[in-house]
């Protein structure tokens, strides 16, 4: 059953090597050397002011040392308020964002939705992903004023782009036959989604939701910098006043909460597999 055109005798006793990805030798080397040259040139354009770095090291040292001696007490009521605001923003925006994401994800999965719905939903996702959180926050602060409302809306908006896209991709890569079997029983569309699709994507949905909760909390610390409420506002004030010990306390709290969420999401994901 051997291929007549293939010269086996000529290959016996010869070493075998995996054929290169780019067949033409000159093209392969040109691309490789070109990329290397560009990389070196790119690094050379980064200017480093070493005397400035030397001065900055002193400030950096103060900052780092503050972590050894964080001050939780002086501004404790500010920290508490900011943290509460952040947590409320995080939870509220995650719940709203996820609730809106699920129908959009269904619409953005080509194997579930008809083409017009698909295009609209993909459009919504593209807009949400194209606009970075900070830019949205600046716009919403301009509209709604300083405070957590702007932050809440920003995070909900960002959640939609993130969750819908990843969930839609999971729906698109689901096992088609399992869903087909439900369809063959005469199920209506909603039942088909509930029995044929949902069980397949549930672990991913829960995992992504936990991850997004985590991201939203971290983002809430950044949004305060542009006035959208949360712990970020407190953190910003602490930096402005050079109160590194208070800033360190805030950062430590953020780190502990993020690690806690990470642990929690690990436990939950293991249980829903």
């Amino acid at each position: 059953m051997s291929d007549a055109a293939f010269d086996v005798a000529g290959r016996i006793g010869q070493p075998w090597k995996k054929p290169p990805f780019i067949q033409r030798r000159w093209l392969r080397w040109t691309l490789l050397l070109g990329a290397l040259a560009y990389l070196i040139a790119a690094y050379m354009t980064i200017e480093v002011n070493w005397s400035r770095v030397y001065e900055g090291l002193e400030r950096g040292k103060k900052f780092v040392l503050a972590f050894v001696n964080p001050d939780f007490t002086t501004r404790s009521s500010d920290i508490y308020e900011g943290m509460m605001e952040s947590i409320i923003m995080t939870v509220a925006s995650s719940v709203v964002g996820i609730a809106i994401s699920i129908p959009i994800a269904l619409g953005a999965a080509r194997n579930v939705a008809p083409l017009p719905v698909y295009l609209i939903c993909r459009g919504i996702i593209a807009i949400s992903r194209a606009l970075q959180e900070i830019i949205v926050a600046i716009l919403l602060v301009a509209i709604f004023g300083f405070g957590p409302l702007a932050g809440f809306l920003t995070l909900s908006f960002a959640t939609i782009g993130f969750l819908s896209k990843l969930l839609a991709e999971d729906i698109e890569s689901m096992d088609k036959v399992q869903a087909e079997a439900i369809k063959a029983s005469g199920a209506r569309w909603t039942q088909w989604i509930n029995y044929g699709v949902q069980p397949q994507v549930m672990p991913r949905l829960i995992g992504l939701s936990m991850y997004r909760l985590d991201i939203n909390f971290r983002e809430s610390a950044i949004l305060g910098l542009v006035g959208a409420g949360g712990i970020g506002a407190t953190l910003n004030t602490a930096f402005d006043r050079y109160e590194y010990d208070t800033a360190a306390a805030i950062l430590l709290i953020i780190i502990v909460i993020v690690m806690g969420l990470e642990y929690l999401s690990g436990v939950i994901r293991a249980r829903v597999q």
Binding site: D175, V177, Q178, E180, A181, I182, K183, A184, S185, G186, A187, R188, T190, Q191, W192, N194, Y195, G196, P199, Q200, M202, P203
Partner: protein, 266 residues
């Protein structure tokens, strides 16, 4: 009971999977559909319940013409056609019971199914069917905890709880070992007899088909090239369906298999 008239399926790529297939199946007849991979066996049965839309031609289930039905009417008719799949196609993260009850989705409303509150008669029937295939004790296990043979038996229950008039069976034994394959084929054929169901069984294993069915259809390149009793499949006929190969061994094997199966059964 089921009648196909000039059924044609042309895929978007231009491949003609079915070329004007005519077929009539009387009430209660179990029929095997054989043919090489790509002959259109799967397409044929999927065109019947319209998981694949036929390009032209008609399908009559009883007096109802299926190809022209609206989505809602098609759903109603799909309840009368139970389907059994090659890789079982159980929803793996649902329990055995949920999988069986999903066969009733065409009969119950959304909220009932969403809340898993199926009518008592459905639940009773599910337990009766699971007991019939010997899996009643597994009802609350998750489907992916079962072995291949067990999964296929759950798949059979799911098809039967629809209370169908016709079973569409797509390669029921393709991923099973020889012994389990026989058990599954025997189970399907017994249940068809008990309930007077007609069935179309796609199957690769010619010997296995010959053991269990009354009628064999040979499909090649989307055309029917054989329609007759299982013992009419001579080496010439098999060559016509599958192409040149030494068929004597296959046919001899059938006889041996038969003896073996009988001795195992006794």
């Amino acid at each position: 009971m089921l009648r196909l008239e000039k059924l044609v399926k042309t895929y978007k790529t231009g491949d003609q999977a079915l070329k004007a297939v005519n077929l009539e199946i009387p009430e209660g007849q179990v029929l095997a559909l054989i043919g090489p991979s790509g002959a259109g066996k799967s397409t044929l049965i999927r065109c019947i319940n319209r998981l694949v839309e036929p390009t032209s031609g008609n399908v009559y289930l009883g007096d109802v013409e299926l190809t022209g039905l609206s989505a809602g009417m098609l759903r109603k008719e799909r309840r009368r056609m139970g389907m059994i799949f090659q890789e079982y196609a159980l929803v793996e993260r649902l329990s055995v019971m949920e999988n069986v009850l999903s066969g009733r989705l065409g009969y119950v409303g959304f909220w009932r199914s969403f809340l898993r509150r199926f009518p008592q008669s459905d639940v009773d029937e599910a337990f009766r069917l699971l007991d019939r295939v010997g899996l009643a004790h597994m009802a609350d296990k998750r489907a992916d905890e079962l072995s291949g043979g067990q999964r296929q038996r759950v798949g059979i229950c799911r098809a039967l709880i629809q209370n169908p008039a016709l079973l569409l069976v797509d390669e029921p034994t393709a991923s099973l070992d020889p012994k389990t394959s026989r058990q599954i084929m025997r189970l399907i054929c017994e249940l068809c007899k008990e309930r007077g169901l007609a069935a179309i069984i796609n199957i690769h294993d010619v010997a296995l088909a010959q053991m269990f069915v009354q009628r064999v259809i040979g499909l090649r390149f989307g055309e029917m090239v054989y329609d007759g009793p299982p013992d009419g499949l001579t080496p010439d006929k098999l060559t016509e369906i599958y192409g040149e190969e030494d068929w004597e061994a296959t046919i001899e094997a059938v006889d041996e298999d038969d003896l073996e199966a009988e001795s195992a059964a006794s």
